[in-house]
């Protein structure tokens, strides 16, 4: 049975169709989770996709974190369910307190849509388990507020606990410690600014997002197996 991935749809989200296409292309099942429903509908993994939830008004993610679906995602994550926030989804997860830190405006004060080179810093997460440490990946970035920041204690903890999962090679946006993606303490919640779903085919310029999404599907598959077994 294919793992079921729920893709959250807030008003203003725009990468939800792309994530579904990428998941299906790798053999997973994908379905939308409407932000106003207080459930994740029994899926095996949740992706909070990119876009401009609620127009990014006030702050990216600031309004979205109060949507009914977010409480369900909190509970799902607390149960160990795999949750990945991509771009705006990462911003939502930090606002919701599921991940530490915050995303500020890019250093260059410009929106930036370009290919980025990433280096896998940790394979101990639901998004990087199928990669190797030091592996370089070409994955596009597409954001105005992707400049990762946190206080020094948090940064020290992230480093000490091997929770920085992806770093930029040639920092494009000013992120602290070149951070492109981090995970929570239980390593089942990951946020990253780059878009792995945009790197799934040589026709689109890169398929380096595939090992990342395969890692997520594997985690979802494991979750599905656990549910079936229980």
């Amino acid at each position: 049975m294919s793992p079921r991935v729920g893709v959250v749809l807030f008003p203003g989200s725009n990468c939800e169709m792309d994530v579904q296409e990428a998941v299906r292309g790798l053999g997973g099942d994908a379905e939308l989770l409407w932000h106003g429903d207080a459930t994740v509908g029994g899926v095996d993994a949740v992706v909070v996709p990119g876009g401009f939830a609620h127009g990014d008004y006030l702050r990216p993610g600031a309004i979205a974190r109060f949507s009914p679906v977010m409480a369900a995602i909190q509970a799902f994550a607390a149960d160990g369910g795999p949750v990945v926030g991509i771009c705006n989804g990462f911003q939502v997860l930090t606002e919701a307190g599921l991940l530490p830190g915050a995303l500020q405006k890019n250093r260059g004060l410009k929106f930036l849509c370009t290919m980025a080179t990433l280096e896998v810093a940790s394979t101990d997460s639901v998004l990087t388990s199928a990669c190797t440490v030091g592996q370089q990946l070409q994955v596009p970035i597409n954001h105005f507020e992707g400049n990762y920041t946190c206080d020094p204690e948090t940064l020290a903890a992230l480093r000490a606990e091997d929770r920085v999962v992806l770093r930029y090679v040639g920092n494009p946006n000013g992120s602290m410690d070149d951070i492109a993606g981090v995970c929570n303490e239980s390593r089942n919640v990951v946020g990253l600014m780059p878009h792995p779903e945009r790197a799934i085919s040589p026709l689109l310029g890169s398929d380096d997002g595939v090992p990342l999404l395969r890692s997520l599907l594997a985690a979802a598959g494991a979750a599905a197996g656990a549910t079936v077994g229980a």
Partner: protein, 737 residues
């Protein structure tokens, strides 16, 4: 004596008399205001229509031609493509960010009005010279506006143009093209039918923003800065989040079959949407002005009826479906209000409450299509004959330092395109860096991949058109065809955005008429239908008209997408072929303009030769036989080679170029191909078989750009100049990466 009301609204005495005859009485203030906006140049095309009729509009696969909100063509597999291009020049001159943002918003509504999901934007942009501080401010603001709105609304901007030239000082050209896809059966038109059906206003509230925008902004030139500041209240403010929800709500309404007709609100606001839908459906409409949700107090009916507040749509629905319509709107948090009822008899009546006073009553069709048509005076400039231009024109300067002259033309525009999301929807196989964008073609309802692709290019060249608007425009059509060929696509449909000066100047009308004829000739020769267009007149500053600037958007189809197109890539050791024949003519070229030369006679365009060149290039590209391909256009062979070199970080060594006139000529029907040595013979066989002339001109490799006897530049220097020109001029402190 005070100025008569009709004149202060922008109507002439003759137009006011026509209105009196239509109504058989004196119009009241509200009626006059409605005619003023609908009969404005922007809405009525009163100066251009007599010429636009000459364009070829029919062709295989055309489902909807000009006159609707967007043109629509059948692209196979049950999929239709909706295409439109529009200008937002004057609003962008006054408030660059909001002007450009609302331009993007407007064109998106034109597309989803047809039932199509917008999948791509293109932005051909033209600004004053880079060394002018105000032009740089306009450029920064326009690019930020497109980025801010387009990215947020969730439609990728996959290409466009960025041109700097002093002709656009104080009057930038901000043209926006949108492509949408729909299942053929979802096609819906902007018409109101069925007596008793309801007109539902969707989206934003109505405020005083943009009152009279079409008559104030788009239909008159600009004077000094003080009066520009006076026009500022007319500029609208965009809300991409509202627009995004509006798109999703409207597409859901259409999918549910709840909509009889739908129309966006753009120029002339509710007046335009109600009168056009009623007129197209052959019906009338009662509109309750009190039912329209307002964002300001004390608005007069004429303000409500002519406001250009953004992010609004008018849907015509059956009464029985209203509850479902309201439920879908509530889901997407979209305001929906019944503001009108379809009636028979053809009258548009504006009521103060359903049973209240009749504030205005006019034939809907008279607003829509009874505007006067003007045959404005036309006059060619003095000394126009080709003989005069050959003999009496200024002499072409000599090239002094071809290397420096080449460097002066190099500019990387990724400073612009990297601010746009150009990848959303996972379609973008070739993005802004290519000669044309290439988008995977997936079915808009099922998502099924057709294995084919659509290609899009936008092209304009004011320098060619300043020398010869007719041949210049034909050459632009040809360039578009070749840009598509270079990515492996065949052209299927054209839209145009015609940016010209003051139509009351006979020479401007002559330029316009010539451009229409040039486009007609070329489109007929290439078998291309024109499925839509937009005219922007009064592009002038301080009494000086801009160079004539017709901009084309051309849609192409890649019949089998098996690989990425080669792009402008060079691989060291690969051979360089020049396909086509160079005419050593510099008139109209970027090089000539940079040396201060104007006028002369453009190189000739032979459409049969051009079609053969484009066909052969397309065959080679789709067959995977070339490793790099670039069309030769602005800046000629020299700039095309240099662009390939700097983008790839690979040098070139070229010979057999007779002189600067051959190096920088912009004669049409040429492309550079980079070919691996082992397939060179194959490639040459294909070209010979197609009867297309070509020449081996050199090889890629090394760290210099060398053209024997003409120039020899370090590649690193060229890369630096190319990469830094825009960021440095536009004040970006550091270069990323």
């Amino acid at each position: 004596m005070p100025e008569p009301l009709h004149r202060s609204l922008g109507l002439t005495d003759d137009e006011a008399e026509s209105i009196r005859q239509i109504l058989g009485r004196e119009p009241n203030h509200l009626e006059l205001a409605m005619y003023a906006v609908m009969w404005s140049e922007h809405c009525s095309y009163k100066s251009s229509r007599v010429h636009l009729k000459r364009l070829p509009t029919e062709g295989e696969g055309v489902l909807v031609g000009p006159g609707e909100n967007a043109g629509v063509v059948d692209v196979g597999d049950g999929i239709a493509a909706a295409l439109r291009i529009e200008s937002h020049n004057h609003p962008s001159a006054i408030e660059p960010y909001q002007g450009a943002a609302t331009g993007a918003g407007g064109i998106l509504r034109d597309i989803f009005t047809m039932g199509a999901r917008p999948i791509a934007l293109m932005d051909p942009l033209r600004f004053g010279s880079l060394d002018d501080a105000r032009s740089r401010w306009i450029a920064e603001g326009v690019v930020s506006g497109i980025s801010g709105y387009g990215n947020s609304v969730g439609v990728p901007t996959v290409g466009g143009e960025t041109v700097f030239d002093e002709t656009y000082a104080d009057n930038p050209l901000v043209n926006v093209l949108c492509l949408g896809l729909l299942p053929k059966e979802r096609l819906v038109l902007g018409q109101a039918t069925g007596v008793g059906n309801l007109a539902v206003l969707l989206g934003s509230t109505t405020g005083r923003d943009g009152i009279g925008g079409v008559s104030v902004l788009a239909s008159a030139g600009f004077g000094d800065e003080e009066s520009d500041a006076d026009k500022r209240p007319s500029v609208q403010v965009g809300d991409p989040f509202e627009e995004k929800r509006l798109i999703e709500a409207c597409l859901e309404l259409l999918d549910a079959g709840l909509v009889v007709g739908i129309q966006d609100l753009g120029g002339a606001g509710i007046t335009c949407a109600t009168s056009e839908t009623a007129s197209r459906g052959g019906m009338g409409m009662d509109v309750d002005v009190r039912a329209i949700p307002l964002r300001e107090e004390g608005m007069e009916p004429f303000e409500i009826m002519t406001s250009e507040s953004q992010e609004r749509m008018l849907a015509i629905v059956e009464p029985g479906g209203l509850d479902q319509v309201l439920a879908i709107c509530e889901k997407w948090e979209i305001r929906a209000s019944v503001i009108g009822k379809v009636t028979d008899g053809g009258a548009l009546r504006i009521l103060d409450g359903w049973d209240g006073e009749v504030l205005a009553e006019v034939p809907a069709a008279s607003l829509h299509d009874a505007a006067p048509l003007y045959h404005r005076p036309i006059a060619a400039p003095a000394g126009w004959s080709e003989a005069d231009r050959r003999l009496a024109g200024p002499p072409m300067p000599e090239s002094v330092d071809a290397g420096k002259e080449l460097l002066d033309m190099l500019a990387d525009t990724s400073w612009v395109s990297s601010q746009y999301d150009h990848q959303l929807f996972l379609n973008t196989v070739e993005g802004p860096a290519g000669d044309a964008a290439v988008l995977r073609l997936k079915h808009p309802a099922t998502g099924a991949d057709t294995g084919r692709a659509l290609a899009l290019t936008t092209d304009g060249n004011h320098r060619w058109c300043a020398v010869d608007p007719r041949r210049g425009t034909a050459m632009i059509v040809a360039e578009s065809v070749l840009n598509l060929a270079v990515v492996g696509a065949r052209p299927v449909a054209v839209v145009n955005c015609l940016n010209f000066g003051n139509p009351e100047h006979p020479e401007v009308m002559w330029q316009f008429s010539e451009a229409v004829d040039g486009m007609t000739e070329a489109c007929l020769a290439f078998g291309l239908p024109v499925i839509g267009g937009n005219v922007s007149f009064y592009n002038e500053s301080r009494g000086s008209d801009i160079d004539p600037t017709p901009v084309l958007g051309v849609l192409g189809v890649v019949d089998r997408l098996e690989r990425r197109p080669p792009g402008t890539t060079l691989v060291a050791g690969h051979r360089l072929l020049l396909v086509g024949v160079t005419q050593p003519e510099l008139s109209g070229s970027l090089w000539a303009r940079n040396q201060g030369h104007r006028g002369g006679v453009l190189p000739a365009l032979d459409t049969a030769v051009h079609a053969a060149v484009a066909g052969a290039v397309r065959t080679l590209v789709t067959g995977g036989l070339v490793s790099g391909a670039h069309d030769v256009s602005s800046g000629g062979l020299g700039l095309a080679l240099a662009e390939m070199a700097v983008r790839s970080g690979v040098g070139v060594s070229v010979a057999r170029i007779a002189g600067a006139a051959e190096l920088f000529s912009e004669s049409p029907s040429r492309a550079i191909l980079a070919v691996a040595p082992e397939v060179l013979t194959n490639v040459e066989n294909v070209l010979e078989h197609a009867g297309v002339p070509y020449a081996r001109i050199g090889v890629a490799g090394g760290d210099r750009i060398t053209v024997k006897d003409l120039l020899d530049l370090p590649l690193a220097e060229a890369v630096g100049v190319w990469r830094d020109r825009l960021p440095h001029a536009l004040g970006e402190g550091t270069v990323q990466g």
